[in-house]
Symmetry: C2
Subunit: 373 residues, 2 copies
């Protein structure tokens, strides 16, 4: 059985919902920490649970290259391989082949690229990427999309819209034609992706075409690829509005707390972003009063947690001074503790967002973050 | 109240015992994981508890430099600062100024050295090192010792024996004269250290002089500093035999499983070594069948734990293939998982050593490890 999505409370365009997957129910709106290589960097599955994360994202591109999707298939899928028994969404690699790999050729057949690790040559076709994700057995897979960077000419954006549609159609077909032995997770569901760069009419065209294919859920792609912040927000809100309300809407690669709240206000349900983990490794901690850089010397004598009242493992056990010391001397535990706090902060933020929707007060929560993020 | 040491079962020269400290009781023989900078590298206090560790070692030298012992004093001591409420032994820095710092001058007053971090100049006298450890509030502090490397002439070794005695006497005096406000842990105890390099008669002389000062416990120092393995074992066994049986005997910087068993057979009670953590970070895992290098490609498809039957967090949840993948792609979780397994392996080894003493079968356990370590 594919995923089931049910909206609970609607407040303006914002909504709470329940996304039922083969590995459990996700309360939406939800944030997905990024576990690119089959691990959310620096933290363990147990810590992820403790942080309140209900679903994570992983990357077909990376896992295809190392350790290989066939190996993960043999292990019964990514859930078992990495020891995470809750929902997983896998990204298709459309963005990674642009941002990481050495892109050799892109045409309607697919993307020919060279691995960012060893330069080996690979072809990603829509069907190949469906096959890879079927092996991984994620609960939600994404179609391969043509995801150009920024700046992007109108011509190139139009081509990406056309090609992403072709690929979405081929993906869908390949997904339906998977042989039983290729399928690790019988309940896996495929989502479509909207492109169109910073051109509103192209974005709407992409939404029309992709939704015509009738996926179980839709993602707004091609954002946060280098465009100005304002354009990112405009296009995000525009694209969310183009998507059918009865399906989960996923905004890819977003983002900062305020961006998430804006997107939820427009009706978005799912998010992923590397910032809580990437910034956490660098010593940046998210709080309700903005970001802290724990390496700063002002924290060296502070005998209080990163955030008062926070009930994450880090804030319950360790002082700012200790965490600052760990980062200062390059100890792994420092990286772990700030990552845990950030992942918990995002899980908790989304929980507060859901509560605010239930009480029709999301605008108020937005006001609280307006000056900080 | 200083530490209390009580032997329980004596089997040949080996013995089990209970070492009572202000932060709880340690069953001996015990292994102390090394938490040089106020953290056992890569793992958390909770994980240390879960691994079965009862006591850890930290380094006065490192903590004096960063974050500074005065800061840790203000935080109520190292236990609270690092979130570890079980016993801590701190090393004095005698070895670190030799192995890490730029040694400028050594004479009977103390050691003048330049920090390995920023080149700043510092003087460690016996009294200074006592003061630093009093601030840290460890349960067991070590006297400053003159710890030359290897090779070491007989003359230099004799000088180290003479000077280590002078310093031990000064340390003892300084320890007794600490002002109440300098003392973080009222039950802190000071141990003496035996030197003498690879010269048995000098080692015995050192033991006679240091034990004359009547410390609550004694350590065999100056080993594992570059000397041949055979000389290390000979000197270790020789020095252990020189120490009074009613006090805890601590062999510093040792070691591999077989070395630990040999030392226990000779009557040693405490050990510390970086190998479980250092090798763990590098992907080397200790097992009853010897060491594994999890990066090796042979593990890439193995769907079983590092060690069958091991009940550490790593072996209960993750396969060799997954751990190999994590190390292969440079993920922190890989480092964590092999470190956890190794720390657990050593805690479990010491537990088995204690059981073997209780049942007079330690020679048998030794035979089991003879071919592997």
């Amino acid at each position: 059985m594919p995923i089931q999505f049910e909206t609970k409370k609607i407040s303006g365009s914002a909504r709470t919902g329940l996304l039922e997957t083969p590995h459990g129910i996700v309360e939406t709106p939800a944030f997905m920490p990024v576990g690119t290589q089959g691990t959310v960097k620096a933290i363990s599955p147990r810590e992820l649970h403790e942080c309140g994360s209900q679903i994570i994202l992983s990357n077909a591109y990376h896992l295809y290259l190392r350790p290989g999707h066939e190996l993960i298939r043999k292990f019964g899928g990514l859930h078992r391989f990495m020891g995470w028994d809750c929902p997983i969404l896998t990204d298709s690699g459309g963005y990674q082949v642009y941002s990481l790999a050495d892109l050799n050729r892109i045409d309607d057949e697919g993307v020919l690229f060279q691995s960012h690790i060893d330069g080996s040559r690979h072809l990603f076709t829509p069907a190949k990427v469906v096959e890879v994700q079927a092996a991984l057995g994620s609960d939600i897979g994404m179609v391969l999309d043509d995801c150009p960077g920024y700046p992007c000419t109108r011509e190139r954006a139009a081509e990406a819209v056309r090609r992403s549609y072709l690929w979405a159609a081929s993906s869908r077909e390949a997904f339906e034609e998977l042989a039983p032995e290729e399928i690790t997770n019988r309940g896996q569901t495929l989502f479509g992706i909207i492109q169109g760069s910073v051109y509103p009419d192209l974005r709407s065209e992409s939404a029309r075409r992709i939704t015509d294919l009738d996926f179980e859920g839709y993602a707004v792609g091609g954002l946060s690829v280098g465009e100005p912040k304002e354009a990112m927000v405009d296009m995000m809100l525009h694209s969310i509005g183009d998507l059918p309300p009865d399906r989960p809407r996923y905004v890819m690669g977003i983002g900062y707390p305020l961006d998430i709240i804006e997107a939820v206000l427009a009706g978005a349900d799912l998010f992923d972003c590397v910032i809580p983990t990437r910034l956490g490794r660098n010593g940046t901690a998210f709080t309700d009063e903005g970001r802290l850089q724990v390496r700063n010397s002002e924290f060296s004598k502070q005998d209080r947690p990163i955030e008062e009242g926070c009930d994450c493992h880090t804030c319950r056990h360790f002082s700012r001074a200790y965490i600052r010391h760990l980062h200062n001397v390059g100890e792994i535990l420092g990286v772990r503790l700030t990552t845990i706090h950030n992942i918990h902060f995002f899980a908790s933020l989304l929980s507060r967002i859901r509560e605010s929707i239930e009480s029709d007060s999301l605008e108020k929560l937005r006001g609280r973050f307006y000056n900080f993020y």
